[in-house]
């Protein structure tokens, strides 16, 4: 994984330092930056140095600002995680009821509407949805600010107002994918023989739905939601830019613009790391809620 991230920087067709400095620079500045970044060393040694430092949390220094990459990421990470979690909440709030209702009343009006809406939701670019949300809620209606960020501790209401639109923009897409999944997963669970067994025992319908349908449908859902949370992050990158949300996405985007490779390298590595951690957590959670795995 880290090899892949590292090799990214070396796929570049030029000298990162030269690209970073632009057209006007002195040989001294060039050499100094090159040496400071360790780019005058052989490739393998560069990788080992970088990987060795990365393990200890040292991801190098930004070409542009001179700050350490770790501190830059540290500043931005909370905002990104906040947005990702808020988006996940939005996604689940959409997907769970819609998917469940569709599954309980297949081919009904609500099912058809849910199918169409989720199909559209999957097809809408999140950045366009962001723009449309700004147009409607900030422009036409004037209810919410069009972007920006204030810390929760300073202005809780302002924080929430600025969180809502980006969270919806990111959440709708994932919500659409999850809706489809909830529906198929519920339908499958509903068709299981043990549901009929429970009904035959005279268990009230609501209890049957909770314990014998939902409980079982949730198992695969945990995996899908985890995967979606990870994919949500890539949606966050683009949406952060539209809403001027000061998260990792903006940092990475800025790094791309500035050709600030240590920062880009660091943020991509961090995204990959978050991705891995989420997958790990999903596996752990899954083994906790599925007795067939937990007891083995």
């Amino acid at each position: 994984m880290s090899v892949l991230v590292f090799s990214l920087i070396h796929m570049v067709r030029g000298d990162p330092v030269r690209l970073a400095l632009g057209t006007r620079y002195s040989q001294e500045t060039y050499d100094a930056l090159r040496e400071r970044s360790g780019l005058d060393l052989p490739l393998v040694q560069q990788y080992l140095t970088w990987a060795g430092r990365a393990v200890t949390g040292d991801l190098g220094v930004s070409f542009r600002s001179g700050d350490t990459v770790t501190s830059l990421i540290g500043e931005r990470l909370p905002a990104t995680l906040t947005l990702a979690l808020a988006a996940l909440v939005v996604a689940l709030v959409i997907a769970l009821p819609l998917g469940m209702l569709s599954a309980l009343h297949p081919r009904s009006l609500i099912d058809r509407v849910a199918t169409v809406v989720s199909q559209i939701g999957i097809s809408v670019p999140d950045f366009w949805l962001s723009i449309m949300l700004i147009l409607l809620f900030a422009g036409v209606l004037g209810w919410l600010p069009s972007g920006g960020y204030v810390p929760l501790t300073e202005d809780p209401l302002g924080w929430l107002q600025r969180l809502v639109l980006p969270a919806i923009a990111v959440g709708v897409v994932s919500g659409s994918v999850i809706t489809r999944f909830v529906r198929s997963s519920m339908l499958e669970a509903l068709g299981q023989d043990h549901v009929r067994t429970a009904q035959a025992k005279g268990v009230p319908t609501r209890q049957v739905l909770t314990w014998h349908v939902l409980r079982n449908a949730l198992l695969p859902l945990v995996t899908v939601t985890g995967v979606q949370l990870a994919y949500l992050l890539s949606g966050v990158v683009v949406v952060e830019i539209v809403f001027s949300w000061p998260g990792l996405g903006q940092l990475a985007y800025q790094a791309v613009r500035d050709r600030d490779f240590p920062v880009l390298q660091g943020s991509v590595l961090l995204f990959a790391l978050v991705f891995l951690v989420i997958n790990l957590l999903v596996d752990l959670l899954y083994s906790r809620i599925d007795p067939r795995i937990a007891r083995r």
Binding site: L4, I122, P125, I131, M132, Y231, S234, A252
Partner: protein, 312 residues
């Protein structure tokens, strides 16, 4: 203990004769497939719309009422009118014409990147599934690593490193979807590898290449076709995202993503500027997705294809 005839104990038909080694397995029947698709209204409509979009992209210069960079300074940011159905942008260019001319960019990048992913991914999947063992392990492990990155992010990173531009966008989006095709193909290959007719062919000394083209590929085709349609949807989306971030075609080339990026700045004054290119993206992507769903129902009832959201 005595038993009544158990289920299915009625005299069994004689086991079907093993096909002769030379017979090919049932191929997907194209005419029948098309017929089934035609009876699936959503799929039929989306296929028709897609054909229209492709036609528009091919004949864009004939169809567009204005040139891509034909400016009229007196008509800056004009709302939709008879002369300019989608309005005009900040240079007085016709948004309608630019949406038409942008179709080519989006589709070209979409098709070429999926073609790249299709060829490379299918080859990797074939080799991995067919030869198995360490080849399989190595290739699929590599695919897993690649698959572990969020798609758009990986594409952004690749383009960021290699430089902006359509060629790199194609490569970046292509690389992102390679693992999906590799997985789908590999699964299909594993499914047919041990089938009687493949073993039979092998026993009479058919070459690997012949086996792959005559037996394995036709069987792997349905899920690959479905995956192609779904991937096209996401490739068009990814292209738009890259263009939006300024990592695709350069200005003043007409591109949906770029138009959105520019229109975003005028959203308060000129809603049409950002709305219509976005709608073009939504319609195109939606059609590829719906067609993919329809194809899945017809070609792949056992749902071997990865979930629709797999690439996002």
């Amino acid at each position: 203990m005595t038993q009544l005839p158990a289920p299915g104990a009625t005299p069994a038909a004689p086991p079907p004769a093993e096909p002769l080694p030379t017979t090919t397995p049932a191929r997907p029947r194209w005419r029948e497939t098309l017929g089934l698709l035609a009876r699936n209204p959503t799929a039929a409509v989306s296929a028709t719309v897609l054909v229209l979009i492709v036609l528009v992209a091919v004949f864009d210069e004939t169809l567009a009422p204005y040139g891509p960079n034909e400016q009229d300074p007196s008509l800056q940011l004009q709302p939709p009118s008879r002369d300019h159905p989608f309005g005009t942008d900040e240079f007085g260019r016709d948004v309608f014409s630019r949406v038409i001319l942008g179709a080519g960019t989006s589709l070209r990048v979409g098709f070429l990147s999926v073609a790249f992913a299709l060829v490379v991914g299918t080859l990797i999947g074939l080799v991995a599934g067919y030869y198995g063992r360490w080849v399989d392990d190595t290739l699929m492990r590599l695919m897993d690593v690649l698959f572990a990155f969020p798609a758009v992010l990986l594409a952004i990173a690749i383009v960021a490193i290699r430089g902006a531009g359509p060629a790199n966008a194609i490569l970046a989006i292509g690389i992102v979807y390679v693992p999906i095709f590799a997985r789908v193909t590999r699964a299909s290959v594993l499914g047919v590898r041990e089938e009687v007719y493949v073993r039979a062919s092998r026993s009479v000394g058919a070459s690997d290449w012949r086996l792959i083209t005559r037996h394995v590929l036709p069987n792997a085709a349905p899920p690959i076709i479905v995956q192609t349609s779904v991937s096209l949807a996401f490739a068009v989306l990814a292209e738009a995202a890259l263009s939006f971030l300024g990592l695709g075609p350069r200005r003043p080339n007409p591109s949906w993503g770029l138009m959105l990026a520019d229109g975003r700045g005028f959203i308060e004054q000129a809603w049409w500027y950002a709305v219509f290119p976005g709608l073009a993206i939504v319609v195109t992507v939606l059609c590829f997705n719906l067609l993919g769903d329809g194809l899945r129902d017809v070609l792949d009832p056992r749902q071997r294809t990865l979930m629709a959201g797999g690439g996002r």
